[in-house]
Structures are given as structure tokens and as C-alpha cells.
Amino acid sequence: MARDMAEKDILKMEVDQLKKEVSTPRSAVSAAAKETIEFVEAQSPEDPLIKGVPEATNPFKEKGGCIIS
């Protein structure tokens, strides 16, 4: 675990990881944001917490609480 490692070994681990991550492929935030927005918007009409749950079909329609003594 990093906790038991000597400072030198922790730094080495950090440097090795950073070396790998330098070449991570990165695409434009605009393209990523666009896809996320489109995905979420497409799913929103069927999102029960957005469209609301009709009283008749609400599995949690108010009955009261559960009290265990």
C-alpha cells in the first residue's frame, strides 16, 4: 500500500503513472459535452423523477411509515 511505501517509491509510482498518462488520447470537450447532452435529453422523457410518478401507479404511494420497536 502507498502508506507503507518509502517516499522515493511513492514518487516513482507517481512518475511512472504520469509517463503513461501523457499519451492518453484526448478528444474535444465540445464533442464529449454534445454527446452527453444528447444522451441525457433523449432519456429524460422516460425519467420517472422528471416526469413525475402518477399516484395510481406509484409503488411508494403514501401509506405511512414503518416503525419497529
Partner: protein, 338 residues
């Protein structure tokens, strides 16, 4: 220069290179990109159920895939399994160690896992007449903060020993160890295809891992405090984290960086937990100040509050059908809202 100084300098140079590469693709913000999106409706979910039964702080909750059963863990030393539709207790699992930090169901809900300050992840079979402890996964050198089943025979853990672990429940042994964080690992979330997972830790970083080879693939910086909660967006390409630094942030794996920050005007309370609605549009976040804020994940605006707990909201959850949001609190109660 000493060896440590050489390494530190090398690290700084590499970090600068990475930041430059990130800036090069940072051609907009999520906020700007979503400016044309209609605002999310201002919803005011009602508390439909209050589940009372625990006698101490609740630390964790988890929904079963049947969208009906929910398990909660408290420092009263019990896991309680609730039939949330009927509003009744379905099962009670006494724990050997009361210091529970995480609970979860296996996909069939026949197994529950709990972990905490005993440094173990305990697997209990609840499908029989009486709960039966099946495995005690012993191997972490620190508390188990989070556990998530991949299947009935495989589970992932996040630990205060700064590693995550993948365990084989048939042998009870650790199959893979994930070492790269330099702070306690607090939370994990599995990708849908289970080839990768993301983790959040007290080193303020989130990391993406390859499950099979144990390698860290990407690291995400931005938070300035412990990351307590993490969840994938439903498209599997972005994720949201919640932190002691009082913010939540969305990170995108394709852009390899933070794309949105959710922060109150007066940020005074740390984020303990988070859940996303079915579409990913609504972000429910539990805070130290007893509230649960509802955020528009795309536009970054606060659109509502769930208030009703008398103490810290320590955990939240949304079932797979998205029909409600549940909150668990240090006030010992669970509430179900929609």
C-alpha cells in the same frame, strides 16, 4: 540534486505536459454547451416512506435490482433489508463488527456484503431461513469503505489502505490489487461491461482502472478534498464525484478532464453521497448540513432540495428503474422520495 528532487522535478514536468494537452482540447465548458438546453423542471419530491428501525447512525444503503428491496447499514451493528413497497422489514442481519461503512447486494440479492473498520468485507447469504455468513474477506490493511458485487462470485472493494481489491468469493482470496492512489480509497463504481471501474480517494483524485490487468488508465484531478462518492453517468463516458471540498464535479473520460463543477453559493458542507436519476439529468447529493440538494447535471444549477432529516445525510440511492430516491441519515432514519 538528490534522487527525490529529480523525481519531483520529473513529476512536475509531466504534470505540466498533461495540463497543456488537456487545455488543448478544452474548447468549451459543459455549461456553455448546455446553454440551449431547456431548464430541468423544478421538482419537489415528497417523502413517501420513513423507515424507522435502526438505533444509531446510518452509514450506507443499497438498492436490489428488483427495485423493491433495499439494504441499510448502521453503527447499531445491523443490516436491515426493507421491502420498500410494502414499507416493512424483510430481513435483519446482525454484524460481528458494528463499524459498518458500506453495504451492497449481489445481483440476485441473495447475498449482502458489508465492510468497515474491521478491515474486512463480510459476505452473508440471506436467501435461506436465517442469514448465514459465507465469507470474511480478509486482506486489506485498512477499513473497507465501499464494496460492489460484479456477480454472485466476485466483488470489488475500496479500502483505507489506499488500494482497491477484486475478490473471488469461491476461494475467498484477492484476485487483483489496484495500487496507485496515495490516499484512502473511499468509493468505487463499476462500468456496465465490468471491464473497468472508477475510484475516488482521499488524495482528491478519481482514477479509471482496467479490472483484468490491475492498471490505472486515467487520473482525474480538480477536487481539493477527499472524494466520498462516485457514480457513472448513464452514457458510461462521464462520471460525477462528490467531495469534502463541498463540490461535486463531472469528469469526462474522452476529454480526460473535469467538465463541470457543482458548487453552492456559500459552500460550507461536504458532500457525503450522490445518486443520478435514470436519465442522468437529476443529481441528488447528500451533504453534512442535513440536506440533499438536487442539481441539474447538464446546466449546473441547483433545482431543488430534499429536507427532512435531522442530521447528516450519509447515503443516497436510486433503484435501477429510477422510480424514487432514498436517503439515509445519521438521524437513524431512511426516507423514500418521489
Amino acid at each position: 540534486m538528490g534522487e527525490l528532487d529529480v523525481l519531483k522535478k520529473e513529476a512536475e514536468t509531466l504534470k505540466t505536459q498533461i495540463e497543456t494537452a488537456r487545455k488543448a482540447v478544452n474548447d468549451t465548458t459543459m455549461e456553455a454547451a448546455s446553454s440551449g438546453v431547456a431548464p430541468a423542471p423544478r421538482i419537489q419530491p415528497k417523502a413517501r416512506r420513513t423507515l424507522k428501525g435502526h438505533t444509531a447512525k446510518i452509514y450506507a444503503l443499497y438498492w436490489a435490482l428488483d427495485n423493491k428491496l433495499m439494504v441499510s447499514g448502521s453503527q447499531d451493528g445491523k443490516l436491515l433489508v426493507w421491502d420498500t413497497h410494502a414499507g416493512i422489514l424483510a430481513n435483519c442481519v446482525p454484524l460481528k463488527s458494528a463499524w459498518v461503512m458500506t453495504v451492497s447486494f449481489s445481483p440476485s440479492a441473495g447475498l449482502v456484503a458489508s465492510g468497515g473498520l474491521d478491515n474486512m468485507c463480510t459476505i452473508v447469504n440471506i436467501s435461506g431461513e436465517k442469514p448465514k455468513t459465507m465469507r470474511e474477506l480478509d486482506g486489506h490493511d485498512g477499513y473497507v469503505a465501499c464494496s460492489r458485487f460484479l456477480s454472485e462470485t466476485s466483488i470489488l472493494t475500496a479500502s483505507g489502505d489506499q488500494t482497491c481489491g477484486l475478490w473471488d468469493l469461491e476461494t475467498g482470496k484477492q484476485k487483483q490489487s489496484f495500487l496507485n492512489h496515495v490516499g484512502d480509497c473511499m468509493c468505487v463504481a463499476l462500468a456496465e461491461d465490468q471491464n473497468t471501474f472508477i475510484s475516488g480517494a482521499c488524495d482528491s483524485q478519481a482514477k479509471l482502472w482496467d479490472i483484468r490487468d490491475g492498471q490505472c488508465k486515467q487520473s482525474f484531478i480538480g477536487h481539493t478534498g477527499d472524494i466520498n462518492a462516485i457514480s457513472y453517468m448513464p452514457n458510461g463516458q462521464a462520471f460525477i464525484t462528490g467531495s469534502d471540498d463541498c463540490t461535486l464535479r463531472m469528469f469526462d473520460m474522452r476529454a480526460d478532464q473535469e467538465v463541470m463543477c457543482y458548487q453552492n453559493a456559500q459552500p460550507t458542507a461536504g458532500v457525503t453521497s450522490l445518486s443520478l436519476s435514470l436519465s442522468g439529468r437529476l443529481l441528488f447529493a447528500g451533504y453534512d448540513d442535513f440536506n440533499c440538494n438536487i442539481w441539474d447535471s447538464l446546466k449546473g444549477e441547483k433545482i431543488g432540495v430534499l429536507s427532512g432529516h435531522d442530521n447528516r445525510v450519509s447515503c443516497t440511492g436510486i433503484p435501477s428503474d429510477g422510480m424514487c430516491v432514498s436517503t439515509g441519515s445519521w438521524d437513524s432514519f431512511l426516507k423514500i422520495w418521489n
